[in-house]
Amino acid sequence: MAVCVAVIAKENYPLYIRSTPTENELKFHYMVHTSLDVVDEKISAMGKALVDQRELYLGLLYPTEDYKMFRKLHNSYTDVMCNPFYNPGDRIQSRAFDNMVTSMMIPVC
């Protein structure tokens, strides 16, 4: 299902990035990197439109809800953030998170 999963910090750098065809990882790096333009645009658009800055949810780039992908990923991400030994801003190196991503990447047949 998913070929590449990336978690991006709000300062625009990857906290986590992983893709299945490992031989062409750079391609996905480029892909994720360029797609951040859209996120930037959404954020700046929201800044103008919304008074309530607390609403940080930007919406879905793509309907991934078919696979409950976002929910899974977000739950796992929350777990990582709850780890008292995790330093916010560091790369995510949690094995649990890794396993979760792997499970998302394995195609469902």
């Binding site: 625009n12 750098y13 990857p14 990882e25 750079l26 790096h29 990197h33 333009d37 645009e41």
Partner: protein, 1217 residues
């Protein structure tokens, strides 16, 4: 139509296309000079109307694009300007011919053309022609602009006529079908006139009408009639929609959009010529409004449109509908148009251009998301096989457009693709320079700056994989450009900033290639300026190695300068009159935080310690590593080091010599790693620990080197001593021995040594030391001063060790285990109170306390001894008691109850065995040499060199027992010493006035020394001076020491080891206790018996004659500080039968003249009183007088030792006849 114009924007629809081209050989420079001047005339207000004409100039235009001129008139080349060189009249016809050939290319669409001839003069030039202009040269052509204006006006006339011509076509007339090139073949053979099918005919007619309406709209727009064009476009859209003529419907919609954009955004959407356009467009909008007053309000009713033909008067339609599209509608219509275009494969270029135009409009509207959709569409429009150059252009323009809508990452992505396209393998001559330039432009998009300072704050956070790729490409491109310095710089940057993200293999590869590059072009610290105005800052390798800690080291202790303390208090701030102020203290604190409070010395090697770490998976060779300093001229001595792979923290010491004085600041260090020179400043290093980097350099001082006659010692003195000792020497001496230590002082510095002071400090030792340990005379040495560099002086020190000669207590304890026990001894006697532990204040030795269990049985069972008393007490009581016994009781039998004169040899062996076990003692002392000279001396600095002295003291002799025996005289006594030879050699002991005693190894013998009693009271005691504060115990101790010294000097005991030719003193100071001392002391109440006027206190008997009364005088001298008395004395004569029997029954042999008992009332301190009497001996013989003493009062008991009662020996002889 295959070549897209990526620069197109919506307002280009209102322009007239004019091609400017050179004919023949015209230099590029000249051509563009004229071209530029022509281009400046880009808009013209038409004379008699308010309309404005816009011109678009091109110097290159593919003729096949011209073929689409009917579809969108702004694609049609309507004017041609040719520029040519012609220097002679005979060339003229040929030139003119070329002009005509050129005209032919665009011939079908041209409204007018011009030829500008440069260089031709003469009659041909003078002929007045409208289509040809002659100029003598490229400088002298002021009239060009005017000519162009005329030319444009002529274009306008044609345009206006065409517009009117088309617009006034009667509806009944046959309207030609306008076609795009690829449609032409579709309509070939279609006979529209004879078509049988009416529907088809009507359909066809509508199509013709719609296309024509659209065409007229285009012409109106070009002619500056915006509102008219809107109306025409609207009508066209209606017509074409009904006949599903999608391509042209798209064009009509696009025209509508363009006209609306022009209306809404007079500033233009193209961006680059915005300002100029703004003025003009504003004017045009106004002009348009004026041209048709109230045009805005009028509406077109679409239902009222005549479908049968084109009404020449559009005014009838105006006022029915709102012509102009709203900004949202523009985008909708663009979308629609593009979707129609996309139905036609051949209209790819049109679609692409429409997309671009829409994006530009959206960018103005700041609707980036929608713009990106259009762009996304544009990306996927597949044109025919593009040439490499076109691809580059395409990607570049995509990048630009993404930049325009604020999508910097996508922009960077496409720019990078464009850069890669520049050097695609299919290109014969790769454009590395262009590639490099484009790559540099992508840097902001990847949020990558080439300044390493931006990366120095904490760990790098970014798109490492992508950034690294870009850096690699920069390195490669710069190398292929033939600029190795640049590639070294980029590679250094890559290594420095991306180190955390490089795999081990990559680290190896990168360093390998870096070394390859630097072998040709070493990396420098110079900024590299790029042609584009960008400057590449230098990249210092602060991570190769990583420096964690920088510490300026003080000079070694022996070279450390010290400030002489002056009375003025140099350390105090002289600025303030206050002795203390919190403000000043605060300031000082700040100063201190920066400045380190030690000094370096000019001319002496200084050290800075760095803790470095090699993050590389291989050995790192750092060359030429040195210090960067400021403030003082500094000679840095670079070091080369090789750090093992992934080393831990590794200390590196960088050295240098300050050449001048002042304040030096260590700013950083420089290295050469992989051929790259780096200057690493400490301020730029993240996470570095430094304890200040500023140090004062003081003027030069001499350097002293010490060498001694003694061997160097491996021992180092305890660090607790505070001073750091540069040299340690050691010597082994027997207890009591003396030795000379000769010290050679050599000045190994560059300055003369002018001053020297020597002090010594004996380190605290648990051993008690008697006498002067170290003594010296400095004057002889100072006579050799000043000591010039390289010169040597000598200095002599006497070492004398005199430790306790008493026997260790544990030895005695063990001895007492032997059954010769003391446990039965009555310890509850009053003497216990007098007895004290042998050494006051001495800590209880750990072995002793641990042995407490062992020796507990030694304690007498009935002992009332407090528990905290040292166990050594009982042991020492033994000899004391024996001494007392023998003295008081006159019972010699018990005196030697413990150790007899002939101490058993078994005991002696035992002793020697035990004494050999770790009985060596150590004495440690530090000799401080303070010296100074040269300029440093004038500044008030000196140096301190410390010599550690380590003396191992081996025991020589021990006095295992001390006791006294009264001598025959009350003024003398016998000191009994049990001397034990603890050496392994034969040893002799001598005193000042006795013969030599020979002791074999391990032998113990008793020696008796007759000594005069001491009058300790005569010692000056000055309690007023020091007694007030000193506690009584200390006073007592001092007094005892003084007494010990006195006794020692009197005795003068010396030992000698003949086999080793060593000798020394032996001292009893340590063993003397209160009791012995009291016995050695002259009693405070001194009794003197004078027989016949002669003092009688000796062994020698006083002779007197039988029958004659002998005068007897008993004198009492009170040396005590208090008055004593009253006393009574009774003289009792007796005879000693020398067999232990004393005969007191002498009434008939001796008679007293007067009383035999004397009464004394009181004796004042330091006064005397005497009692007189007489004796009459009736028979000859040896008599002894026993003087009995009766104390009157029972209240005050005087200590018995106060009474030193003399014994008087009188020999009565016959009177010589």
């Amino acid at each position: 139509m295959s070549v897209p114009d990526y620069m197109q924007c919506a307002e280009d629809h209102q322009t007239l296309l004019v091609v400017v081209q050179p004919v023949g050989i015209v230099s590029e420079e000249n051509f563009f000079r004229i071209y530029k001047r022509i281009c400046s005339v880009s808009q013209i207000s038409v004379r008699d109307s308010q309309r404005v004409l816009y011109i678009r100039y091109r110097h290159h235009y593919p003729p096949e694009n011209n073929e689409w001129g009917d579809f969108q008139t702004h694609r049609k080349v309507v004017g041609l300007i040719t520029i040519t060189d012609c220097f002679s009249a005979k060339d003229w016809p040929q030139t003119f011919e070329k002009f005509h050939v050129q005209k032919e290319i665009y011939g079908s669409t041209l409204y007018d053309s011009r030829l500008f001839v440069f260089g031709l003069q003469g009659e041909i030039a003078e002929q007045a022609r409208t289509d040809v202009a002659f100029y003598p040269n490229y400088e002298d052509c002021q009239m060009v602009e005017k000519r162009i204006e005329d030319f444009i006006e002529s274009l306008f006339i044609v345009l206006e006529s065409k517009r009117l011509d088309r617009a006034t076509d009667k509806s009944g007339d046959k309207i030609p079908l306008l076609c795009v090139p690829f449609e032409k073949k579709d309509f070939v053979g279609l006979d529209t006139d004879s078509s049988v099918l009416l529907g088809l005919k009507r359909h066809y007619k509508k199509r013709c009408q719609g296309r024509m309406r659209k065409h007229v709209g285009d012409l109106c727009l070009q002619a500056g009639m915006l509102q008219d064009s809107l109306v025409h476009y609207h009508m066209s859209v209606e017509l074409l929609r009904s006949v599903n003529d999608f391509l042209w419907l798209g064009a009509a919609l696009e025209g509508l959009c363009s006209a609306s954009v022009i209306y809404h955004y007079p500033g233009g959407t193209g961006g680059k010529s915005g300002a100029r356009r703004f003025q003009g467009s504003a004017l045009s909008a106004e002009a348009a409004n004026r041209h048709r007053p109230g045009a805005q309000e009028v509406l077109i009713d679409p239902g009222a449109l005549t479908t049968s033909g084109i009404n020449p008067d559009t005014s009838t339609e105006i006022g029915r509908a709102k012509n102009c599209l709203s900004p949202e509608d523009i985008i909708d219509k663009y979308k629609e148009a593009i979707s129609y275009y996309s139905k036609y494969k051949n209209a790819g270029v049109i679609e692409l251009e429409a997309c671009i135009k829409a994006v530009r409009v959206l960018a103005i509207q700041k609707r980036s998301m929608e713009a990106s959709e259009f762009l996304q569409n544009a990306v996927y429009i597949n044109l025919r096989q593009l040439s490499e150059e076109e691809k580059i252009q395409r990607y570049s323009i995509l990048s630009e457009l993404y930049e325009l809508i604020g999508f910097h990452r996508k922009s960077a992505f496409f720019k990078r693709v464009a850069a890669m396209q520049c050097v695609a393998p299919s290109i014969a001559e790769p454009g590395w320079r262009a590639c490099y330039k484009l790559l540099l432009e992508t840097l902001p998009g990847y949020s990558l700056s080439l300044d390493p300072k931006d990366f120095s704050r904490g760990t790098h956070r970014g798109w490492a994989a992508v950034q690294m790729r870009l850096l690699h490409e920069l390195v490669y491109a710069s190398r292929r450009m033939g600029n190795p310095a640049l590639s070294v710089r980029h590679l250094s940057f890559l290594l420095q900033t991306m180190l955390d993200f490089l795999s081990d293999q990559e680290k190896k590869d990168v360093t390998q290639s870096l070394e390859n590059y630097t072998s040709k072009c070493p990396g420098t610290m110079e900024p590299i300026a790029l042609p584009g105005g960008l400057t590449l800052p230098p990249v210092p390798f602060t991570k190769l190695p990583i420096v964690r800690h920088v510490k300026l080291l003080n000079l070694p202790a022996s070279l450390r300068p010290h400030k002489m303390k002056s009375l003025l208090g140099q350390n105090m701030s002289t600025k303030s009159p206050f002795i203390y102020s919190p403000i000043i203290a605060h300031n000082r604190g700040e100063e201190r935080s920066k400045k380190i409070d030690f000094q370096w010395v000019q001319g002496d090697v200084c050290e800075v310690q760095l803790m470095v770490y090699n993050p590389m998976p291989f050995e790192l060779r750092v060359e030429n590593m040195g210090l960067l300093t400021s403030g003082v001229e500094f000679e840095s001595l670079p070091a080369a080091l090789s750090l093992p792979a992934e080393s831990g923290l590794y200390p590196v010491t960088l050295v240098g010599v300050p050449q001048t004085t002042g304040t030096i600041t260590v700013n950083g260090y420089h290295t050469t790693v992989f051929g790259v020179f780096s200057d690493c400043l400490l301020d730029d290093l993240p996470g570095i620990k430094t304890s200040g980097s500023t140090v004062e350099v003081i003027p030069a001082l001499p350097r002293l080197q010490i060498s001694t006659s003694l061997p160097r010692s491996a021992h180092s003195l305890q660090p607790s001593s505070g001073d750091e000792i540069s040299t340690n020497v050691s010597v082994q001496l027997y207890n009591g021995e003396s030795q000379q230590l000769i010290i050679k002082l050599e000045n190994i510095g560059m300055e003369p040594l002018e001053k020297l002071e020597v002090t010594s400090k004996v380190l605290t030792t648990k051993e008690k030391l008697y006498g002067d340990f170290l003594s010296w005379k400095l004057e002889e040495t100072l006579a050799q001063f000043p000591l010039q560099p390289g010169k040597v002086a000598t200095f002599t020190i006497n070492i004398k060790v005199k430790l306790d000669f008493s026997c260790q207590e544990n030895l005695l304890q063990d001895l007492s285990d032997d059954g010769i026990s003391v446990s039965g001894f009555p310890l509850s006697s009053p003497f216990r109170q007098v007895v004290r532990p042998r050494v006051e204040g001495k800590p209880v030795n750990p072995p002793e306390s641990s042995k407490a269990g062992d020796c507990s049985h030694v304690k007498p069972p009935e002992s009332t001894r407090p528990l905290n008393m040292p166990s050594s007490l009982e042991i020492f009581i033994v000899p004391l008691l024996s001494a007392r016994d023998c003295h008081e009781e006159g019972c010699p039998g018990r005196t030697h109850s413990l150790v007899g004169e002939d101490a058993s040899t078994e005991d002696a062996h035992r002793m020697s065995y035990m004494l050999c076990q770790g009985t060596d003692k150590t004495l440690e002392a530090v000799l401080n040499f303070k010296y100074s000279g040269g300029p440093g001396h004038t500044e008030g600095y000196y140096r301190n060199l410390s010599l550690g002295l380590h003396v191992e003291v081996e025991p020589s002799v021990f006095f295992t027992r001390v006791s006294t025996l009264p001598a025959s005289s009350t003024r003398q006594c016998h000191l009994l010493l049990d001397v034990f030879n603890s050496t392994e050699h034969e040893l002799t002991v001598s005193t000042r006035n006795s013969e030599v005693l020979i002791l074999h190894a391990g032998e113990c013998q008793r020696m008796a020394i007759q000594v005069d009693k001491f009058n300790f009271e005569s010692f000056p005691e000055s309690p007023g001076e020091k007694g007030q504060f000193a506690n009584p115990k200390q006073l007592e101790e001092e007094r005892r020491e003084a007494r010990g010294l006195e006794i020692h000097s009197k005795l003068g005991i010396r030992w000698r080891i003949p086999s080793l030719k060593r000798s020394g003193e032996a001292s009893v100071e340590g063993l003397l206790n209160q009791l012995v001392l009291e016995h050695l002391q002259l009693a405070p109440l001194q009794w003197d018996v004078l027989v016949d006027g002669q003092p009688c206190d000796r062994e020698v008997a006083a002779a007197c004659q039988v029958g004659n009364p002998v005068r007897l005088e008993v004198r009492l001298t009170n040396r005590s500080p208090r008055s004593v008395g009253p006393f009574a004395l009774t003289v009792v004569p007796f005879q000693d039968h020398q067999n232990g029997v004393h005969n007191y029954d002498l009434h008939d042999t001796v008679s007293f003249v007067g009383s035999s008992t004397f009464y004394l009332d009181a004796v004042q301190p330091s006064s005397q009183s005497a009692c007189l009497g007489a004796l009459l001996f009736l028979y000859t013989g040896d008599f002894f007088l026993h003087i009995r003493f009766h104390e009157d009062s029972t209240s005050k008991e005087l200590p018995p030792s106060w009474f030193c009662l003399p014994s008087v020996h009188v020999r009565a002889v016959e009177v010589q006849a």
